[in-house]
Subunit: 389 residues, 2 copies
Amino acid sequence: MTGTPPSAPIRTLADPGTPFAVVDVHRTRRNIERLAQRADRLGVTLRPHVKTAKSLDVAALMHDGTPGPVTVSTLAEAEAFADGGYTDITYAVGVDPHKLPRVIALLRRGVTLRTLLDSSEQAAFVADAAREAGIGIPAQIEIDCDGHRGGLKPDAPGLVGIGRILHDAGCLDGVLTHAGESYFAHTAEDRRLAAKNERDTAVTAADTLRAAGLPVNVVSVGSTPTAHAAEDLTGVTELRAGNYVFFDLVMAGLGVCDLDDLALSVVVTVIGHRSEYGWIITDGGWMAMSRDRGTSAQAQDQGYGLVTDLTGHLIPGLVMSAASQEHGTLTPRDGGSLPDLPVGTRLRILPNHACATAAQHHGYHVVDGTQPEGPAPAIQGAWNRVSGW
Amino acid sequence: MTGTPPSAPIRTLADPGTPFAVVDVHRTRRNIERLAQRADRLGVTLRPHVKTAKSLDVAALMHDGTPGPVTVSTLAEAEAFADGGYTDITYAVGVDPHKLPRVIALLRRGVTLRTLLDSSEQAAFVADAAREAGIGIPAQIEIDCDGHRGGLKPDAPGLVGIGRILHDAGCLDGVLTHAGESYFAHTAEDRRLAAKNERDTAVTAADTLRAAGLPVNVVSVGSTPTAHAAEDLTGVTELRAGNYVFFDLVMAGLGVCDLDDLALSVVVTVIGHRSEYGWIITDGGWMAMSRDRGTSAQAQDQGYGLVTDLTGHLIPGLVMSAASQEHGTLTPRDGGSLPDLPVGTRLRILPNHACATAAQHHGYHVVDGTQPEGPAPAIQGAWNRVSGW
């Protein structure tokens, strides 16, 4: 955290130009602690996915200030985390040939950069590149546990062949699966079953490879919903999750967290009223919130977000119901009355999807929600974000 | 345009790491020319809204390289364009008190920074700030022509009072309206009527102020759909539009442009296949495209975008149907067959909403679609983008 120098006047959420992103460090620490304790109990390594916060400052909280294993979604993240001293990084998006020079450059810097793939053509070019570079390129085979996106089914006929191509080139690192459909698992029991299926699928694939004489070091599973629901991870070596550091309305809607766990919000200012329509207009539109409307598929649609005052207390029944590029519209739910919020009033909006909202900002102002309350929380520092690819 | 030095090897769309944004300069020039000619015929000044491209390089094409009048959506844009020599800037989002110091700083630099407001409380603090600073703060009164967002109805009882507060402080600059609902006007006749209504509303408001003895210099109207439909802008002084420089699938769906007018796309790489589901997986997800799904409200839902080859030719029937953060899923429409696109193949995705997709990128690679075709168009240069607030 790059703190405000002690001699500078204390700045609060009433000071920076709106809109801007703010993170409650207390909630972030609590969310991090909660999953770290779960991983400990389950006997697996936690490998946080840094794609949500994309921040070395947030990652420092995950690992008590010492670089530990992380997951990334882009090579830009991998490079920034390597610059920050992280040496064990899984790049969890299927690799394509043109990205291998950057992968090899990271490996040559001493970073264990683990790649992901799910086809024999990818395995072949990874193996060829490894031989040509004279270096092992750790590669994990993506396993599909729920038809969400990429990966091989654990009984796919090609699995062992891919494993052998990688092993012969000194590249086979393990298997990885992600229960992406758990974002639509609306009960605790559904998430428990999704976690069990995620674990079983990964372990089955690992066992298939081992039965063919291929060594499997890493058996990696995870998603924020399943990471919080898993009861038994026997055979799994590591757990991944990303969203959990901040959580969001989608996760609260699923029941994975409570609303008071949400650590990311966007500070906006009231710029107008249309009382004839029941609208309050703010200067925070989709540029500040993203276009993500994840809760539209849930029982309770939260529009573009729920509204709190500057100290983080929910304003009951007020929803950000519409967005244009730099305008937000707040409306009372179910025809309720419009609170009196004059032009210039600052509010905070809790987002649908923390990963998408955070991506609209270059960094975060940091507050501690447990500090004594005034009209506006003091800003404790600023955290940067990595962007681009 | 910051061109590649002549001595450097020619780079093409096959070279940069994917995903990245690319602009076809030929289409951009054609789009710019088309609206410039319309504005000339209609006898109004064109004041392009730079919120779509947020690029001094694109703006240079709009004004033949000489800074002209522009509209901005953030003060960060205003400051960047002021740095680039632009001295006539309308900040078309309702102003709030805490932004006035930055507005005044721009005015003191010699920039005519025109603000927007729609309430007597805003007029009062603008007037107070102007008196305190000893400077006129040009302010336009936002007029609501279609219930889309902010503004006063032209017959609102408060209109003249606001005008008087501003005039007495030397701040009254004019009236401004935006036919935001024209984005849902699905026939040429509907857009023609929306343009007529937009014009009539603005002129009515201006006439009301003038009848009260208040001078109205600027009568500003515009949106991309109405700007391309207006037939008579008598009484209007200027026309605003933003999206038209790039256009997008929403505009093509409305019929405001053709698909071959779309100047912005995102280059992605195939990273996998799920033939059992009929999916091609790419490395371009919502981080590269935005979460905008504007065409979902249109007759033809285009998913997250239409797919072209690297030279910009549509691949018939292929749609980007799903997105996660760094993964895109391409599927054939109506159960068609999946084209043979091996891992490593580069494609371009045409976006729903150019403003939102462009916002996911720090800049643009530039190609000229009219150049002789090879397997991959040559990159002619790079254009930067302004971001933040």
